[in-house]
Amino acid sequence: MVTLIFDGLAYGMLLFVLSCGLAVTLGLMNFINLAHGAFAMAGGYATVILTNQMGMPFLWTLPLAFIVAAVAGFVLERTLYVRMYARSDLDQVLFTIGLVFMAVSGMDWLMGSQQQILHLPSFLLGRVEVLGVNIGIYRAFLIAVCGVLAIVLQLLITRTRFGSRLRAAVDDQRVAHGVGIPVKTVFAVTFAVGSGLAGLGGALGAEILGLTPNFPLEFLIYFLIVVSVGGTSSMLGPLYASILLGLADVLGKYYIPTLGSFMIYAVLVIVLVVRPQGLFARAA
């Protein structure tokens, strides 16, 4: 039982890192970025190529996966996304889903459609017994990394100057601009960080979720569920939502395997019926 909760927690944490970038762009910048998973995929492939083909240590590839995805996000934001901010929701959806299809086909062409298999260093493999509970080392590593990230992000947004500028820019762009906040730069940096986090999530998740060119489509639903269940007004909402979904998924599959992955959709429906603004959203 404790092992299961532990697995669920790890899975949830992974979902959080993958989705929190989307919570930032969707919640703070009001931009519907369905192509979020493409950045996660870019990070995942960066790690796989660097470790498997170039022999770089896995841990070193994680910051690189972040950087690759962040740079890609920055460039695309400056060249493409920036033109879409003022457009309607439908335009944004069509535009970003188009990007997803391009990313899927492009990766297919570059790397082939087969499953990429990541080779982890041996110190992250296997499991240890702590107080009679079997704990997978890699999953413990995931929980640690993602937990730290969650705290840092929350502090960054609520306690730093950049965080308050970002929130100001989101609340009222014109006024923020008027008082001298470089709105464009703030948005570009935020978008890049969000993409970078997705890249990091893709890199961390390659081991557990698998990695194929279809990744952005396969996990799009999960990102959206996390964001809609968690609400988008802070980092804590998506964090709790991810953990809730991770636990529901793992426990559901264990105790009622015939339901398969149905459990998390049930959670989604219940949450949206009871609290359409998301579980943890502040009152509008």
Partner: protein, 389 residues
């Protein structure tokens, strides 16, 4: 019969097939090959294309005095496309034989054209039993899922694995494998404690494996698509199941030659049942592997490649028998009962069912002398027919 737009189109297609075939009475025989070169089944498409390259380089392109022209088209792993492409190949390009078909929906789509146009269709990869019933002109050189699952269910109880948990991906072939494995296992004195179906889209096996540990069976029966197999074995080892005495006995797809090497150590010792291993020890296979590698930059062939090679060989052999006649009835009649020495061992086209009859081998993953991982065969079930027909 209700006349819909579809039936009208179907009739048009069927009538227009006749002149196309009649026109092709010169000495070139066109064979339409439908492959998934892109999309989800791309890895099959790659092996199929590579097998074609190797075959043509080795055996040439002439049979019974007719030059065989292969027209290769990509269906992008979408069944709808396979239907359209098969129809175009027959009606516009004048193909007299259809082959390829890298997955079940494509094969079933092609069978519609085969049935209406009386075109011989040779399925080289798809493994669903019912394909053979979809058209009286279908032949198969791949394998069927029940054909593999049944011998595994027979082998296991005789070798110390009676109490099973079955873990399969929740889609057609997975359910087929689960059903036929259980049937065979029960007949041979084993039991399935629990049947778990894993969603295709979500490859985190953690909760399913945890459930398996808690039931402590003798072994797990596993059928998942090739890519997910790697994730499964990693998590199996991560959970320490390899030390727990619970064995993995799986369908060959999980330890496919195409991916086996990149799976690394977690794959070692896994037992699978299947029709072909690149390590099969026979002069035919050595020659095949060598020809295949020579034509494709050292790429290793898998079961898909053998299926394609044998399909092309079957076309050549059958044309020799019919004197170059590729019309549906004559071709299929001549192909019935054909026996061939394939790279996988002896195979036969069952004269009654048109289905392939072949050896199924039990294999264990071991590290070969060249440092690569191979499925090493250690027991043979000879001439296994598809149990559903």
């Amino acid at each position: 019969m209700k006349v819909t737009r579809r039936t009208v189109l179907g009739t048009l297609a069927a009538t227009s097939l006749v002149p196309a075939a009649a026109l092709a009475q010169d000495n070139v025989l066109k064979v339409g090959v439908v492959l998934p070169m892109t999309g989800g089944f791309q890895s099959n498409g790659r092996q199929m294309q590579a097998a074609i390259n190797a075959f043509v380089a080795t055996r040439g392109d002439t049979a019974a005095g007719r030059r065989i022209e292969l027209i290769i088209k990509d269906d992008a792993s979408v069944g709808d496309n396979a239907l359209r492409i098969s129809q175009e190949l027959v009606t516009r390009d004048g193909a007299e034989i259809l082959t390829g078909y890298g997955y079940t929906p494509a094969a079933l789509a092609g069978a519609q054209i085969s049935a209406r146009g009386r075109i011989p269709q040779i399925v080289t990869v798809a493994a669903t039993s019912s394909i053979i019933d979809a058209s009286p002109y279908v032949l198969r050189t791949s394998q069927t899922t029940p054909q593999i699952a049944t011998p595994i269910g027979e082998w296991a109880p005789a070798n110390g694995a009676r109490r099973f948990m079955s873990i399969v991906s929740d889609y057609g072939p997975g359910v087929d494998a689960e059903t036929w494995f259980e049937k065979s296992l029960l007949e041979h004195g084993g039991e399935v404690l629990e049947k778990l179906r894993v969603p295709l889209a979500n490859p985190d096996f953690a909760p399913f494996l945890q459930r398996a540990i808690d039931q402590s069976p003798d072994a797990l029966f596993v059928f998942v698509p090739t890519g997910a197999g790697a994730a499964f074995m990693k998590q199996f080892v991560e959970r320490g199941l390899d030390q727990s005495g619970i064995r993995v006995i799986a369908m060959s797809d999980m330890m496919d030659d195409d991916l086996l090497n990149s799976m690394g150590d977690p794959a070692l010792g896994v037992i699978t049942g299947g029709p072909y291993s690149a390590a099969h020890d026979s002069p035919e296979n050595h020659a095949f592997v060598e020809a295949f590698k020579a034509a494709n930059d050292g790429m290793r062939p898998n079961v898909v490649a053998v299926g394609v090679w044998d399909a092309l060989q079957l076309i050549h052999d059958t044309l020799e028998k019919t004197g170059g006649d590729a019309s549906g009835e004559a071709f299929v009649e001549a192909a019935r009962g054909t026996e061939m020495m394939s790279a996988r061992g002896p195979i036969r086209i069952d004269p009654e069912t048109r289905e392939i009859v072949q050896n199924i081998y039990m294999r264990r993953v071991e590290r070969g002398e060249d440092g690569e991982l191979y499925n090493v065969e250690f027991e043979t079930f000879e001439a296994v027919a598809d149990p559903t027909h």
